[in-house]
């Protein structure tokens, strides 16, 4: 199974809801990544403001940044190769790279997790 890495620009949170507006694209990516993780896919996101070291340690990412500046983010890497820059992967691309079908991703997203997520026992 492929290893997927996404290098995000600096932002408050992965869903972007801490920003000044609601960004559907970030919501989509965040939930897809969440679903893929549940399916056991090796997928990881690095945030520029929280893990800047990762943007230096990864030589390819660093080269891109040095050449094309901050606009090149987000960068997606599959098995060590840069496959996409400036935009997040589409659902088709996620499916293709992870080997998990779009239907399976959607199913994983709706699957219940163990444990309770809130104090009031609302879930």
């Amino acid at each position: 199974m492929s290893k997927i890495e996404i290098f995000d620009p600096a932002m408050c949170c992965a869903t972007g809801i801490c920003g000044p507006g609601i960004d559907q694209e970030l919501l989509r990516v965040a939930t897809t990544v969440n679903a893929l993780t549940k399916k056991g896919v090796d997928i990881i996101r690095y945030g520029l403001s929280s893990e800047p070291q990762a943007f230096i340690d990864n030589k390819k990412v660093n080269d891109y940044l040095m050449k094309e500046e901050v606009e090149v983010l987000p960068i997606t890497i599959v098995d060590g190769e840069v496959v996409k820059t400036r935009k997040y992967p589409t659902e088709d691309e996620f499916a293709q790279w992870s080997g998990v079908s779009k239907e399976e991703i959607a199913a994983a997203a709706t699957e219940k997790e163990n444990g309770c997520c809130c104090e009031g026992g609302c879930c």
């Binding site: 408050c12 949170c13 801490c18 920003g19 507006g21 609601i22 901050v70 709706t110 219940k112 997520c117």
Partner: protein, 583 residues
């Protein structure tokens, strides 16, 4: 009548936490307590956590966050936590290692992300927690006193650790929303310990400061309750500025006395069981070490020969005429808590409505009492920005948006991020923008929250503005329009409200600096509650009124003559009384 507040007779815990509405005398009381304890030979540390702190004015020296020994008071060390500087240092510490290793645009992107108001709050709380939990400090000092920011802000600071630890422990996908707070996990213990210390009655006393007036007492009750909910149960109430009526026979003194006594008779019920002390009203200005040292001991009269620069002091009418003539659409009343921002905002609203304008009067003050001051109707619409409600609205808006495309479990995931403490800040910010945006078809008069909080809000406005310009997210028009509108002097006027005393004037001057930096227009100043404008014959009050003159002159100078003075009134200025104010 309550006993005098005198630390010589009261046994005090190691940590003393002074809180209360702005302008009630927290700093004076904290300083006087610190000096009294130091004079007893105790080792004392006094720390201010107020973003608009005025400790340096009291001691007449520049202070740092590390602590400065005070020469005139052996045993006393004073520290000033400056949240903005702390935030800058925090930002610097995150970014410094990557300078030169990443291109400038990338560094800039990180910096912008770390410039939000959340970072300022976190940095402030960091320093504050360090002082509470640092073992060396604990051993070194007999007493550690905190002169805190205005109540709303303080409460938020104290609630943060519990909000954060819940957030971290509940988060199933890692603390993603805390991206900019990357150091947070490691601080968790420190925050937890800070809250444990605060809740330990043997270690910590919460000293609620109030004036013998209705609204500061209500505020004290609110703070008392909310802090009890956080487990801070060891509380004292100190009523500052109580007029002790003895031989004086003067109408103004009588009015002041009965006004105060009535407020004290109607003290909120939940405060009635709290041990309560009083500090008498003093004739002298409570600044300078000499007077601070006297505050808890005795009064003295010192006749000054000050002269007013202006023969006749201008009234609020002049301000309203100018706002009308210059066609201002967004009008703020800003200043320290307790200076009468709400009263003035209401008076301006009435004045403009009388001229036939449609006025929307709104407040962001958590202790909103707008509706007690003025009624809706006759061209005036009232509203308020309620932080909790805004948070709920924002959460619902986000979830509604999410539901358009997402499955239920995805939504749970989004909900998790929505529990981040930053979300509330965003929510309030959006509500604020929304109201200002309405200034197209009505005049908006905004009675803002106490200074510190307002500054954070303005700061947020600035940093978000940068982000908005490149975000692909769904940004409401109102948010896009906010800062340009605030910066347009043709549309926006900030009226700075102050009192004719040292501290409020110094604070107002700092506020003016901040406004300048943010590029926001301020032309007018209003001095409220001037005893000089009354004909008091009471020696104490007359001395006090003479002491107002240098401060009125100072405002005259700073405002280049664009100021108005409101006389001290024996009764709450509301309803019809507001109309008198603008005649």
């Amino acid at each position: 009548m309550y006993n005098l507040f005198n630390p010589d007779n009261i046994k005090l815990t190691k940590y003393l936490f002074f809180t209360g509405k702005g302008g009630v005398g927290k700093t004076s009381t904290a300083c006087a307590t610190a000096i009294t304890l130091a004079d007893q030979g105790k080792k004392v540390l006094l720390v201010s956590t107020d973003p608009a702190s005025n400790l340096q004015d009291v001691f007449g020296i520049n202070l740092t966050s590390k602590g400065t020994p005070i020469q005139e008071v052996p045993n006393l060390v004073v520290a000033n936590l400056n949240p903005e500087e702390a935030a800058k240092a925090y930002k610097e510490s995150v970014i410094a290692p990557y300078k030169g290793k990443l291109p400038a645009s990338v560094i800039q992107n990180m910096e912008e992300q770390l410039s939000g108001s959340c970072t300022v709050e976190i940095a402030a709380f960091n320093e504050f927690s360090n002082f509470i939990t640092d073992e060396k400090t604990q051993i070194e000092y007999d007493h550690i006193l905190f002169d805190t920011a205005p109540t709303g802000h303080t409460l938020r600071m104290l609630q943060l650790p519990s909000a954060w630890s819940n957030f971290i422990s509940e988060s199933t996908h890692g603390a993603s929303c805390l991206g900019q707070l990357s150091g947070l996990e490691s601080k968790k213990e420190v925050y937890k310990n800070a809250v444990i210390t605060l809740a330990d009655g043997k270690m910590t006393t919460l000293i609620l400061i109030s004036r013998p007036e209705y609204s500061p007492l209500q505020e004290a009750e609110r703070a008392s309750k909310e802090l009890k909910e956080l487990g801070v149960n060891n509380q004292l109430l100190v009523v500052n500025g109580v007029l002790d009526l003895d031989v004086e026979n003067d109408e103004i003194a009588d009015k002041l006395y009965s006004k105060q006594q009535e407020a004290l008779r109607n003290i909120p019920e939940s405060l009635q069981d709290t041990p309560t002390y009083r500090i008498p009203l003093r004739a002298y200005n409570v600044t300078g070490i000499k007077n601070i040292r006297m505050l808890l001991k005795e009064d003295y009269l010192e006749i000054q020969n000050y002269k007013l620069n202006k023969e006749e002091l201008p009234k609020v009418k002049a301000l309203i005429e100018d706002l009308y003539a210059s066609k201002k659409r967004v009008i703020f009343t800003m200043g320290k808590g307790g200076v009468g921002k709400t009263t003035l905002a209401a008076a301006i609203a009435i004045g403009l409505a009388e001229k036939g304008l449609k006025v929307h009067l709104t407040t962001t003050d958590p202790a909103d009492h707008l509706k007690f001051v003025v009624e809706e109707g006759h061209g005036i619409r009232l509203s308020k920005i309620d932080e909790k409600e805004e948070l709920r609205n924002y959460t619902e808006a986000v979830l509604a948006k999410a539901r358009e495309t997402m499955a239920e479990e995805d939504i749970a995931y989004v909900e998790e991020d929505l529990r981040s403490p930053c979300t509330q800040e965003i929510a309030v910010f959006r509500a604020f923008a929304e109201i200002v945006d309405n200034a197209d078809d009505e005049i908006v008069v905004i009675d803002t929250a106490p200074t510190g909080h307002t500054l954070l809000l303005l700061d947020a406005t600035q940093s978000y503005h940068k982000e908005i310009q490149k975000s692909q997210g769904d940004i409401p028009e109102a948010v896009k329009n906010l800062l340009p509108r605030l910066r347009d002097a043709k549309e926006t006027e900030v009226v700075i409200v102050t009192l004719p005393e040292a501290t409020p004037v110094y604070e107002a001057m700092r506020l003016q600096e901040d406004l300048k930096r943010a590029g926001i227009n301020n032309k007018w100043w209003v001095i409220n509650s001037s005893l000089l404008m009354t004909n008091t014959q009471s020696p104490l009050l007359k001395t006090k009124s003479q002491n107002e003159i240098p401060w009125i002159n100072k405002v005259d100078e700073i405002a280049q003559g664009n100021f108005a003075v409101i006389p001290w009134k024996g009764e709450e200025i509301k309803g019809k009384k507001l109309v008198e104010l603008i005649r």
